[in-house]
């Protein structure tokens, strides 16, 4: 670890009165400035998140028909037949139970955004080998889970255009407690 360069940077900050330092653009606060610029290609490879407006969704598409096959091969061992759960989380059903003594929180009964299914399945599933499904298969499994929950039809095509427009049944039942989102 090299402290002389930090000392030099700190001295530069002091001399520059926190206005500019180390060739940084004017108006940006000065720090040691030890990051290197990221290229758009690097960012594209790094950025796997999908926003509720569909930002970040890749090309490709899938339906529940293909999704049923992928699900049976990749998901069913942990999540049960048709998403019924066991040994791990139940993914289907539970609608109408949230205000009961024994609520069943599933994709269909609870999740507020369909884009979250794509984001999560792509980044974290299948549990033993995440990020091994093709984008088309992630769309297909997403479609399958929406179909089994009665939210879309079996033939509905899920892609970057259609998925963000799926309205999840429980979406309006979340109360944001952070003020910036209450607007």
């Amino acid at each position: 670890m090299s402290t002389p360069s930090l000392t030099a940077a700190a001295a530069a900050v002091l001399l520059a009165g926190c206005a500019t330092a180390g060739g940084m653009p004017a108006g940006e606060k000065a720090g040691p400035n030890l990051g290197r610029p990221a290229t758009s290609a690097e960012i594209a490879a790094w950025d796997i998140s999908v926003a509720p407006d569909g930002g970040g969704l890749p090309a490709g598409s899938g339906t529940a028909v293909r999704g049923a096959i992928v699900y049976a091969q990749q998901c069913q061992a942990c999540h049960g037949e048709k998403g019924a759960g066991q040994p791990n989380d139940r993914l289907v059903g539970g609608q109408g139970t949230l205000a009961s003594k024994s609520p069943v929180r599933t994709i269909g009964s609870y999740w507020p955004y369909a884009t979250t299914i794509f984001d999560y399945v792509r980044r974290a599933m299948p549990y033993p080998s995440p990020r091994t499904l093709s984008d088309a298969d992630v769309y297909a499994v997403t479609a399958y889970l929406l179909f089994e929950n009665g939210i879309i039809a079996e033939a509905d095509v899920m892609n970057a255009d259609t998925l963000p427009r799926v309205k999840m049944p429980n979406r309006d039942n979340f109360i944001p407690m952070y003020p910036a989102t209450a607007q």
């Binding site: 090299s2 700190a10 606060k29 720090g31 290197r36 990221a38 791990n88 507020p112 979340f174």
Partner: protein, 427 residues
């Protein structure tokens, strides 16, 4: 479990009955000194036959990394549970009842992982900052280690801590098994604000997304206001580099916020116009209310305390004077007061807070107690500098229902039976 509530002074000296007074030890300490207390403390037990000798021969040599005494091997993380078919999708808890003070040893800090502990070579790890910034930047760990750092003492609490207490019947678990998803550490790292400003963050951007390099690439949205306030890109914990299970080589640390947001193994920060609505901020860490609605973005951990000694599983050895000890903390600021009751909340006495009571940090409280030998119900009630007061369990459940899973911060009651058994009770 061994008795950790031995009377600290001979019972014969006690004249009060069931009294709570944080000054008892001070008063009595002076009295003991003035009345031959030293010989009393040595006591009649100080006979030659019982006096262990110094080691008869030179002991073990130096070691390159120390470990607890071998007689303390039972002090371990507890209730280690993982999702079926997995080993790293679950939690382990800090054995709160076996520890004292307000800092948790690194090896006993609780764990909560969503897809195991990754083995990350710091020489290949990178942190990307991008999104609504003028200059997307990539940082090596070596570069981060050259930044100016700050050190702060804070608690970290999983928002699912104490969730079993929402249950209809009181759990028979120990204090650490119930409440041990909280730990206290000194965290050292780079203020996130410095890195975001170097990247030229859009001053109007309201959110960041933080993403980990674990197999689940666990991710959470965080308000920019928090990121620019006291968020740390943490590199050290209790003076040493982060343990793998606590995010090595670099993690986000958000003081006072629910633990899941302090993303471990931090690989990416994306400045964004909206929350990303990740799985863990929608389907997971949201708090289902009795009416079927769910609270989301419930970030700060509520004011809370728990008596750690004595607690469930302890057995009092006999009536007399002992010390009640516990922890208090709040995500909103410093603990200002902890009251303790020995009669289920009918009357309360102020406990002594171990200084300094730092903001968003575990604060040790202690109070002497003269146990009469009769039934008792021990409670502690914390308040913080904002005036927030820890609620009773009934009030919490009346407000939020019993299905919220997260953010349980109600008053804990431990009962003491005449035979000295200490149990978790709803009272």
């Amino acid at each position: 479990m061994s008795d950790r509530s031995d009377p600290a002074r001979p019972n014969a000296q006690v004249t009060t009955r069931g009294r709570l007074d944080r000054r008892i030890f001070l008063k009595r300490g002076a009295a003991l000194l003035g009345a031959g207390g030293l010989s009393m403390a040595m006591g009649p037990a100080a006979r030659a036959a019982d006096a262990p000798s110094p080691a008869p021969a030179p002991g073990a040599g130096m070691s390159d990394y120390g470990h607890p005494a071998r007689y303390e091997e039972s002090v371990k993380r507890t209730l280690i549970r993982s999702q079926p078919g997995t080993t790293g999708s679950g939690a382990s808890r800090t054995p709160l009842e076996m520890l004292e003070g307000a800092l948790t040893p690194g090896g006993l800090h609780f764990e909560r992982h969503h897809s195991g502990v990754p083995d990350i070579d710091p020489s290949v790890h990178r942190l990307l900052i991008h999104g609504l910034v003028r200059r997307p930047l990539i940082f090596t760990v070596e570069a981060l280690l050259r930044y100016p750092m700050v050190s702060r003492i804070h608690f970290l609490e999983c928002s699912g801590n104490s969730a079993v207490m929402y249950g209809a019947a009181p759990s028979t678990l120990t204090c650490g098994q119930i409440h041990g998803l909280v730990s206290g550490s000194e965290w050292t790292g780079v203020p996130l604000r410095i890195l975001l400003e170097e990247a030229g963050i859009d001053p109007r951007a309201p959110w960041i997304l933080a993403e980990g390099a674990d197999a689940a690439a666990m991710s959470r949205s965080v308000p920019v206001a928090k990121a620019m306030d006291d968020a740390l890109v943490a590199l050290y914990q209790n003076g040493e580099r982060l343990r793998p299970e606590n995010g090595y080589p670099v993690r986000l640390f958000l003081p006072g916020y629910e633990g899941n947001m302090s993303v471990k193994w931090l690989r990416r920060i994306k400045v964004a116009a909206t929350p990303t609505m990740t799985k863990d901020e929608t389907s997971r860490y949201t708090d289902l209310q009795a009416d079927g609605k769910a609270l989301m973005f419930t970030y700060p951990m509520g004011v809370k305390s728990v008596i750690t000694r004595p607690s469930a599983g302890f057995r009092m050895r006999g009536p007399g004077l002992s010390e009640v000890s516990g922890l208090a903390w709040s995500g909103a600021g410093a603990i200002s007061r902890v009251e303790v009751s020995m009669n289920g909340g009918h009357s309360w006495a102020d406990a002594a807070l171990s200084a300094p009571a730092l903001p968003r940090a575990l604060t040790r409280f202690r109070i002497p107690w003269v146990w009469s030998g009769g039934p008792a119900v021990l409670k502690s009630r914390a308040r913080d500098e904002t005036g927030a007061i820890q609620p009773e369990r009934d009030a919490l459940i009346t407000e939020h229902g019993a299905n919220a899973i997260f953010h349980y911060n109600a008053i804990q009651a431990w009962s003491v039976s005449p035979d000295g058994e200490v149990k978790n009770v709803y009272a």
